[in-house]
Symmetry: none
Subunit: 216 residues, 4 copies
């Protein structure tokens, strides 16, 4: 890279508030995800985002608000990921398979989401409580699940008396836990769980578990 283009790069990065704010948010998500609210350092966020503490405070007022903004950003990613799941095919079994796989993949591919949610839960949703507008997030998935289960039941493929919410929880659990607790699991099981093959195995098992449970 020559001097000119470097200068230009800098010029582009500078004096663009929207972009600057985004850079801050991105760095903040990284830092909060990695260390949690208490462990995160504003200094580190300033440095990583190539800004400075004052600017962060100008835009976000406090560490807490910055955290909440980061959380919201994380949820936006989650929602985007879930909205892509297509379950309107003719075969309910196939649709559920896809749903379980997609849910699993979401957690597999977005460690930020897993970690931020974990931090939030382990702190008793200290901040989520304040930002309840985020609430409507998961539900699209729940609705999709509702439709496909009903369809499967009508077609005589799935068992009756399925508790939708608990099913939703279990589907999430089978993916989320694998990634959220990977460290202790790896130690206890003495196995590298980050290998593609291991991940694929867990994914397939989750699918089969859910489907064999549903099938009548």
């Amino acid at each position: 890279m020559d001097a000119d283009s470097e200068t230009e790069t800098k010029r582009k990065r500078i004096r663009n508030p929207a972009q600057t704010q985004q850079r801050i948010i991105d760095s903040a998500i990284d830092e909060f995800m990695e260390r949690g609210f208490d462990g995160a350092r504003i200094d580190a966020i300033a440095e990583q985002s190539k800004t400075n503490k004052s600017l962060i405070y100008k835009y976000f007022n406090s560490k807490e608000e910055l955290y909440i903004a980061s959380l919201a950003g994380t949820y936006a990613q989650l929602r985007a990921s879930q909205n892509q799941i297509d379950m309107d095919g003719p075969d309910p079994v196939e649709s559920v398979r896809r749903l379980v796989q997609s849910t699993f993949d979401t957690f597999a591919q977005n460690p930020r989401i897993v970690r931020m949610l974990t931090h939030e839960n382990v702190q008793n949703a200290r901040f989520l409580k304040q930002a309840l507008t985020i609430k409507a997030l998961y539900t699209p998935l729940l609705d999709k699940l509702d439709r496909v289960i009903r369809k499967g039941q009508e077609m005589g493929l799935f068992r009756q008396s399925i508790d939708l919410k608990h099913l939703y929880i279990s589907i999430s659990a089978l993916g989320y836990f694998y990634f959220s607790n990977g460290y202790t699991l790896a130690i206890v099981l003495d196995e590298d769980l980050t290998e593609a093959a291991a991940i694929a195995r867990q994914r397939e098992q989750a699918v089969e578990m859910v489907l064999s449970y549903l099938r009548r």
Copy 2:
């Protein structure tokens, strides 16, 4: 009050190092569980344990060592809980049912364990790595699981090709996640997940899911 009786009053409350240390550990677990390593305050632990900071440092040298001791304490509880699981009955199906229920109950009844493990994982097992002696903990359960699955397979009750470690993960997931992520789940699902009935539903679903997966 004269000097003597004052001394005696004091003597009653103190001068029992083992007990004092236990009080410190207990308070520390509470504090670390609630706020994580970074959020925990030595001051709070000193106050809750009715001791003082200097004493804590005398016994545990640093916040880090105190945390590790707390973690070990937590694991001791987990191990005790898991050792109670009796799976040596004649019926593999019944045994697996018990195993899943017991695992679930362990998490249901020991929020400290769930939270400490969560903290540890979300911090990349920062401290567990240092205390690898804790490692052997989970395995008894894994061995038990191994035996019962083999038996079920020999009896033609369970499917072939079961990945034991992943099965173990899934069984844990179905219980752990329900409690570790209760806060966000409750918000997203708009449902009180702490009610006994809801807990029982999740427990039963977990059992059925595992069993229907295993059955050939």
Copy 3:
């Protein structure tokens, strides 16, 4: 809205440096009066004056210079107020009465002056020292006082051996203190000192006190 009309809208509000500077000074006096030099915020002045910090710095260079300009503005108001006092009537008693009343009224009607002077004094005239040109301000009043006292003495109405400067101080004190220390006085005396009647009483007492002192 097209580009032209937007430009015009803007043009209406801005592009008048003198007026803009005055707006800044006015806001600055308000802010400094209310919070003192250290407590005042450039941000607040920018906002209240509907300008921005850069502009303030362009016109005034530093917080300090802006403060000094504000102080000068305040003194201008004080001088204007004192210049109106007419004491050239034939009756010295009546003239003194007027002088005391006018001095009192100046403080009553210009809380900004009282507060700015107070701030300045409580800071050891930190800024006034740098702006000594303001010095000549008070003296007209002192000269007026000199003339009328002399006249009263010549007419045998006033006592001999009057220290002019101390008389001036006392006349000022009887008015100034009432307003400068109104808050603690109100608390200590448990009385609302801002009522018109209370102010009138203090004013009359001041007049009588000075006159009875002067009378031989």
Copy 4:
């Protein structure tokens, strides 16, 4: 001073919480008096009191509470000073003379009091409002004044219709203002007001002014 006594001095200063707190308060009064709440620096207080910031916060929680404690300390000095005034002699004129002198002397000898009160007033009693228990302070003086004026009136020495509270204000004004506004007065009058002779002149004038006002 030899090495030994120095060591001893240090030892005395250390590990004595009450004394340490007093040292902090003393330094705080100095700093707040000199620079006001906003201008004062905790660092400076820590340094002057030979302690450190953490300790200050341990004892006083916040800059604000430290300020309030300092204010209370100042008022304690004021009260002590006023309580010494003896006005129960037989001659009301002499008693009033003493009262005016004592009031004047209090301000002359306690610049801390004058400055702290001034700071407080110029900030709209921002902190005094929170610490209203300090209220009862001035009143002893007011009661004393009440008694002696009544006596003078009964003896036919003083005029009727005296507003006690306003008289109290004026007496205070004649002393307080001289010291609170010394800086600007000195500049305007071009006179050194800190000389003993000047102070004495102002004091005598105050006495005479009050007495000539009171005399019928």
